[in-house]
Structures are given as structure tokens and as C-alpha cells.
Symmetry: C2
Subunit: 200 residues, 2 copies
């Protein structure tokens, strides 16, 4: 599910950078598929609670699955919002040239975070989770930089473009935060410590 979210944002970002309307439509078209996947995962989690009555590490794994499914669902919806912005402005490009590279980098970081979070979930490698916080810091730097660009009195692209960029930047930043949350959930499942209490 997390790998799916990474793929959706990767396509949505390519659509955004290259103004590819059809690719945006493809991201939007996959929404139902991802909803079905979420329902399936939650059914499995519930069945695990009901029929296996797990304790300790197994119980934590199920609880963290339920929480992570919520985070990844949000990631998918954020990728969808990026694709919708591309469609809404098509054939006009959403991004002026000044911020294209920043969005390419935000896209790269956010997709990398989702791929790493998926790997942490799969391998239960807690050490690997440390890397996600570092990548997320890089995302926060880019996100803040975007606001500096917008706040510059010399910004030449007017309010509507600024509003689009504000929301898009926030989608990427939120996507990254949810990927970090997914990795933290796995840390909790493996170690038994509340995610916030673990200094990752």
C-alpha cells in the first residue's frame, strides 16, 4: 500500500512538472484500487485480532497496521490532490520556472520517504527508520524555502499561482510527514515504545 502511494506521487509529480494531463488522469483513476487495498488490509488486521487474539509484539503489529493504513490512505489522497491540480490548470502549467526544481526535489524526497517507509514496514529494520527523519528535515527546509520565494515582494506570478504553490507545497510536506509516521509505527511495533518516545 505504501509502495502504491510512492508510485502515485511519482506519477503525479511527473504530471505536474511536465504538464501531462493524461498521467494525472491515470493517478486519479487508480483511487478506487487503492481504497480496495486499504479495506482489504483493515479486514486482515481485524481478522487477526478476532481469530488469533494476538499479544505483545503481534498485538502491536496489528495496532500499528491499523494506524499506518490511515496514514497511507492520506498519502494517496495527497498524491491525488497533486494530480487534480494538474488537471484543473491544464493546459496551463501550474508551476512557474522558478519553483520547478524545488518541486522536482520535493517530489523526489517524498517518493524516497514512501519507498523507505515501505521497506521499514517490510523488513522491520528499525535502524533504517532513522534515515526517514533526516530526509524529512530536508523536506522541511524545501517547504520553508518555498514560502520565502512566495513572500518575496518581487514575486511576479500573482496571487492565483501563489495559492496553487502554497497548497502543492503543503501536500508534499504532509505526504512526507505521513511516510515518517508509518516508519514510526513500525518502530513502535518492533520495540514496544510509543513512536514519539523513540529518538529516531
Amino acid at each position: 500500500m505504501c509502495t502504491h502511494a510512492a508510485g502515485s506521487l511519482q506519477n503525479a509529480t511527473a504530471a505536474l512538472l511536465e504538464g501531462r494531463d493524461r498521467l494525472a488522469a491515470q493517478v486519479i483513476g487508480r483511487e478506487r484500487e487503492l481504497e480496495a487495498l486499504r479495506a482489504q488490509i483493515e479486514d486482515l488486521a481485524r481478522d487477526a485480532l478476532l481469530f488469533h487474539q494476538p499479544v505483545a509484539g503481534d498485538l502491536r503489529a496489528v495496532v500499528s497496521t491499523i494506524r499506518s493504513a490511515g496514514d497511507i490512505d492520506r498519502m494517496n489522497r495527497l498524491a491525488l490532490h497533486v494530480a487534480e491540480a494538474v488537471q484543473r490548470r491544464h493546459p496551463r502549467s501550474v508551476l512557474p520556472s522558478e519553483v520547478r526544481d524545488d518541486f522536482a526535489e520535493m517530489g523526489r524526497l517524498a517518493v524516497a520517504l514512501a519507498v523507505k517507509a515501505a521497506e521499514v514496514v517490510r523488513t522491520r529494520n528499525v535502524i533504517r527508520a532513522v534515515e526517514l527523519d533526516r530526509d524529512d528535515d530536508a523536506m522541511d527546509v524545501l517547504h520553508r524555502r518555498m514560502f520565502e520565494v512566495l513572500m518575496d515582494p518581487a514575486w511576479p506570478h500573482g496571487v492565483p499561482t501563489a495559492v496553487d504553490i502554497t497548497l502543492l507545497a503543503r501536500y508534499y510536506e504532509r505526504f512526507a510527514d505521513h511516510a515518517v509516521a508509518v516508519a514510526r509505527e513500525t518502530v513502535y511495533a518492533v520495540t514496544g515504545h510509543e513512536p514519539d518516545a523513540v529518538p529516531i
Copy 2:
């Protein structure tokens, strides 16, 4: 926890409308208290799974508690973001006069949604949950109106104010969505139907 979130957003909105820096600080200061409350609720949910091994409706109630705690945590953080915006711009007011009434109304709706969601959780009154979707539609109308105001070529307040308003409007809209999600979780707990499958 949901009532707490309603209180936080009510205070954050009053701080926003009246430029009350100290009230914003008070909202921010309560964050730890709310985090502790979330940890406590999640411990209770985990203990319920571990020691009582619930089935059917009781199991659903525990699963929906874990999910709802995540939604309400986001609601608290969104109220916090509103308070932080007030502090960041103080002593300047964040809102120009044209949008004050809209934000007062968004605040009123969002707080009402959280209060109603808390009531649905407490009373398990599924019928009452219908009202939340209606209120959320009103929120969506206001949210869209806000963008029309910003997209107006005659908008006189420049890009930085537009960026602030874009984000603030999104915080209120997301807060409302999470309140609706909490009510839907309760519908799921009571009826056993996946929230999305219930036509509320």
C-alpha cells in the same frame, strides 16, 4: 479528547479574529496535555485488546477508538497551526476585513462539527452522525468561496496575506473532515459497516 479539540479550535479562532496573542499562546501551551490524553486513550484501547479479547461490536469499538484517536490528534494539531499563525503575524492581524466573517463562520462550523462528533462518540447515536455531513458540506462551500475571493484579480492584499489565508482555510477544512471521520468511525463501531459504505 474530541471536546478538547473543539475547545482548542474555538480559542484559536477567537485569537485569530481578535488578534489575541496570549490566547494563541494558551492554545499552544495545552499541546502536551492533549498528547498525554491521546497516549492514555491508546493505552486503554491496547489493554482492552490484550486483557478482554473483545469480539464483534466490542472489537469494532476498540478499532474505531484507535483510528479516531489519530483523527482527533490531527484536529488538535490543526488548531495549533491556527494559533501559531496568529503568533507569527502578531501584532499585525492575519485576516483582512473581507474574510473575517467567513473565518468566523468556518470556526463556528468546525467547532460545532467537533462538538457533534464528540456527542456521537459518547451517545453512539448514529442518526446524529447524518448532521455532520451536512455541516461539512457548508464548510466546503465556505472553503471554495475563500478561493474565489483570493482568485479575484482585484484582491488588494498581496501574496503573503493570500498564502496565510490559503493555509488557514485549509486547516479549518481539514479539521472539519477529521471530525466527520470520527463520527463515521463511531457509525462503523455501532453498525459494523465500513464508514464509506454507510450512506451518511
